[in-house]
Amino acid sequence: MAAESYSEAEPRGQRSQLLQHEVLLTGIGGQGVQLAAKTLAMAATAEGHQVLMSSHYGGEMRGGQTEASIVVADEGLRTVPILESVWSAFVMHSRYWPGVAARLRPGGVVVANSNVAGDLPDGDFRLFPVPAGDIAAEVGAAMSAGFVLLGAYSTITGLVGIEALVAAMKDLVPPYRTQHLVVNEAALRAGASSPAAPLLGAGAW
């Protein structure tokens, strides 16, 4: 095989024409932030989008900083894996909020678990507080607050559909954890249909 070069691969200015949405997911270890991120990324892939996801978390199993970023593009993913700014935030806990706020673009969408992230300072963003912990407890899925917030996030932003999220969750749960499938699905659907999760006027697509 001969040596190759690639040159002048695309016209200038194409970057700005792509439709692409970024989500920053934040919380503390043990809240299911990484699982929610993976579920969202897989659901968006199943719906035909190009997806990039990167995770960042410390060595602690519980309580430490945990963060994931996801980019969903209609086609031709063009992004670096460490994001400079984001369109929306998924906030399970307020402890690491300042780092998220610094990257949120003006007018960005923030879907926050108001049970433990009800104290976010004001800013130039559209805040949707969702009592994800309470809703999870109501449907008998106290451990699944992350899925409640994810369901709510899907309704609010329209980034992915609830059916794709349920299917992705079922794919991701390992065989030895299948006892959680029913409550996880209940949590996703309860979040998606919650009065705290209105359909956003300007949806993702």
Binding site: A3, S7, R15, M42, H49, P81, I82, E84
Partner: protein, 358 residues
């Protein structure tokens, strides 16, 4: 096959198996560990063998053994473990046993190690540095082909961002064309079949015919690597035709630089970007041509200055070559630190362009 969301390590593992890799051995060490885990999960179903070795030295020598028997084989680690593998890599280069080394480095501080090596003798290793997971899938398959084509160990320079990032990716087998038969492979026979060979670093021959001896053997290997250096340079360049400034970067750092350069172009700044895809052979002449109109060359790498040596050799004094990066590791010690962001690179490039202009 439709695109699937795969972690980089899993995508590389699947690409390796699609390329026919049937032996893998390694010792866990982040960010390489995920690749070893994926191989362990997937290799048995493909009819292959994955060994969790007790050390990196054991891993690379098992890989050398499997490869000497003709199997498509691979190993890997991060730079710290690959330091231990240097002797076996040099032996394999000189006794002409092909395998792939997946270097999931903890940053960009192992450029010298990857491109110069630390073993003995006149040998080189082809080294490809993918910019993202999609390219890593292609490089994985290409590396197995190049290893067999040149009967030589070859390397991928990956890192945490290759190993741990999830991307939509298709892992389809790529046909790179025919390869010579592995008629040199040890087949377990002795004496009568006529197929047994010595695989020996000092010469290639048979038990009753020791071959040409070290002088001719090593001359021939040096000529082989001279040919590889001519034929296997790979690179990507953008906006260099009229560029006053060319910025060189490699691997996962390159897309960050490219984004900044794209913005500068939109602002009317005559700047271009050049990425060596093969770190060895370094695309020396293509870089010199890309810099033909440049009055300055900038090098962004997340280390104390390693690739900049190769850039200076290529530019050969025709323009000043200025480093942009520095050592930068995050709190985990597993990945590049704070300078690998678009804002940091944007500020640094604008600052240096101003300084060099003034």
């Amino acid at each position: 096959m439709a695109a699937r969301l795969l972690q980089g390590s899993d995508a590389v593992a699947q690409a390796a198996i699609a390329a026919g890799c049937r032996f893998f051995s390694g010792y866990p060490m982040l960010p390489f560990t995920d690749l070893l885990e994926s191989m362990a999960r997937r290799m048995a179903a493909a009819g292959g063998v994955c060994m969790n070795a007790e050390t990196e030295i054991e891993a690379v020598n098992m890989t050398l053994g499997a490869a000497a028997a003709g199997a498509r084989s691979a190993t890997g680690s991060c730079g710290q473990g690959i330091a231990l593998m240097q002797e076996a890599i040099a032996e394999a280069a000189l006794n002409e046993v092909p395998f792939v080394v997946f270097n999931m480095a903890r940053g960009q501080q192992d450029y010298f190690q990857a491109t110069r090596g630390g073993g003995w003798g006149d040998y080189r290793t082809i080294c490809l540095a993918p910019k993202d997971v999609v390219e890593a899938v292609e490089h994985t398959q290409l590396l197995f082909h190049l290893a067999d084509q040149y009967r030589s160990p070859v390397m991928m320079y990956g890192d945490y961002l290759i190993s741990h990032t999830y991307m939509s990716v298709e892992v389809d087998p790529i046909d790179f064309g025919p390869l010579p038969p592995k008629d040199w492979a040890l087949d377990g026979s002795r004496g009568g079949t006529g197929r047994s060979r010595q695989i020996w670093t000092w010469a290639m021959g048979k038990a009753n015919d020791p071959g040409p001896g070290p002088d001719l053997h090593w001359q021939r290997i040096a000529e082989k690597f001279d040919g590889v250096a001519r034929l296997e340079q790979r690179w990507e360049s953008k906006w260099c035709d009229d560029a006053e400034t060319v910025i060189v970067s490699f691997g996962t750092a390159a897309p960050f630089v490219e984004q900044v350069v794209g913005e500068l172009r939109d602002d009317g700044v005559r700047v271009g970007t050049f990425r060596p895809i093969s770190l060895w052979p370094f695309p020396e002449k293509p870089l010199a041509e890309a810099c033909a109109s440049a009055s300055r060359v900038l090098v962004f790498e997340v280390n104390a200055g390693q690739m900049i040596d190769d850039v200076r050799l290529a530019v050969a004094g025709r323009a000043p070559v200025t480093p942009l990066g520095r050592v930068s590791i995050d709190f985990s010690g597993m990945r590049q630190g704070e300078i690998l962001t678009v804002p940091w690179i944007r500020d640094r490039v604008r600052q240096v362009i101003r300084e060099v202009t003034v």
